[in-house]
């Protein structure tokens, strides 16, 4: 079987994921966090029940892996202003107490687990640095009473 034939279902699964699930999430950062949550912490494999049943676990795994990496590079390429806005949208959508949310994120840095494997280390570092800064910006705005 040729590589092209194998890639067709992955593309279909990817489109399906985009249209049915990711399009319902309000911001890119939220999409990244969602995609990272489909990865098993112990094995590093991705799993999505609906996608696996419509296609196959292997095809779903590959589609999720590609979507995760793409979402990561997209969020990492955001200027600080856009990333801070994205974080604000995500914070609002979480319906948590904003102060508590910011404090916990600054202390635990949970966004570190959203970094896919096999990405460029400098981009990964830029991503964590920009998120630290975005959290500081939101905290500053909160203190200023915005």
């Amino acid at each position: 079987m040729s590589v092209a034939v194998k890639l067709v279902p992955v593309q279909e699964a990817y489109d399906d994921l985009l249209n049915r699930t990711l399009s319902r999430i309000s911001c890119e950062l939220g999409r990244l966090i969602y995609l990272a949550s489909t990865r098993d912490y112990n094995t590093g494999n991705y799993y999505h029940e609906g996608l696996a049943s419509r296609f196959s676990p292997e095809v779903a795994r590959k589609a999720l892996e590609i979507a995760h990496r793409q979402a990561f590079y997209k969020v990492s390429s955001f200027p600080l202003e856009v990333l801070a806005s994205n974080l604000e949208v995500y914070l609002r959508s979480s319906r948590e107490n904003p102060q508590e949310f910011l404090h916990t994120w600054q202390r635990l840095e949970p966004y570190r687990v959203t970094i896919p494997t096999e990405v460029n280390l400098t981009v990964a570092r830029l991503f964590t640095s920009n998120l630290r800064l975005s959290l500081a910006i939101l905290r500053f705005r909160q203190e200023q009473g915005h």
Binding site: N120, R125, T128
Partner: protein, 191 residues
């Protein structure tokens, strides 16, 4: 009162030596500061280590442009918070220094692989080897200059040098890829 010729030359010589020593000391201090900034800031490497060989590839150019661009600094400046600005400069300097270290490591690895391939190759072109070595030396020098200047001037003022270094890295990578594929083709033809 004028100093006699020999004494004057001695004073000038001593002053130059002193200035040279001070400049040298400042450069060493800047280097140490830059090195400690890049070592001590929280890093993804501290907590999360993917496969080094796979992950240490050349950083995509759009991210190099982003690290060294002034856009984010302009945004932070508009917020008018000195603390935030300090935080931003510290963070961005660390990322820029990390990129310099990664670039340096990547070209070192590429060159090592090239030397190994050259040793096995029967027909080596001297001109080509000299060109590759010169580009490698130029890039190493640029990395050293960037490493020193990031702490002094900030990444935003070094945009042009960083982008040039990035282009050079990509070019060396391409030349060596072509070289390696040429060696493989010749080996296959010879077999």
């Amino acid at each position: 009162m004028r100093l006699p010729g020999e004494g004057g030359a001695l004073v000038i010589g001593t002053s130059s030596a002193l200035i040279g020593a001070v400049v040298f000391l400042v450069l060493i201090l800047v280097w140490i500061r830059a090195d400690s900034t890049s070592r001590h800031l929280p890093s993804v490497l501290d907590t999360w280590l993917p496969d080094q060989d796979d992950a240490a590839e050349v950083c995509p150019p759009e991210f190099v442009a982003q690290i060294f661009s002034g856009q984010d600094l302009a945004f932070i400046s508009r917020l008018e918070s000195p603390d935030l600005k300090r935080h931003f400069l510290r963070e961005r300097n660390a990322v820029a220094l990390f990129w310099v270290q990664q670039t340096s490591a990547v070209i070192r690895r590429i060159m090592r692989r090239h030397l190994e391939a050259s040793r096995l190759s029967a027909d080596i072109e001297f001109a080509m080897e000299a060109r590759i070595f010169l580009q490698y030396a130029k890039l190493k020098l640029l990395c050293a200059v960037l490493f020193l200047l990031i702490g002094l001037a900030g990444p935003q003022k070094l945009n042009a040098i960083a982008l040039y270094a990035d282009r050079l890295t990509q070019r060396i990578g391409n030349v060596l890829r072509e070289f390696e594929s040429g060696v493989r083709t010749r080996e296959m033809d010879g077999a």
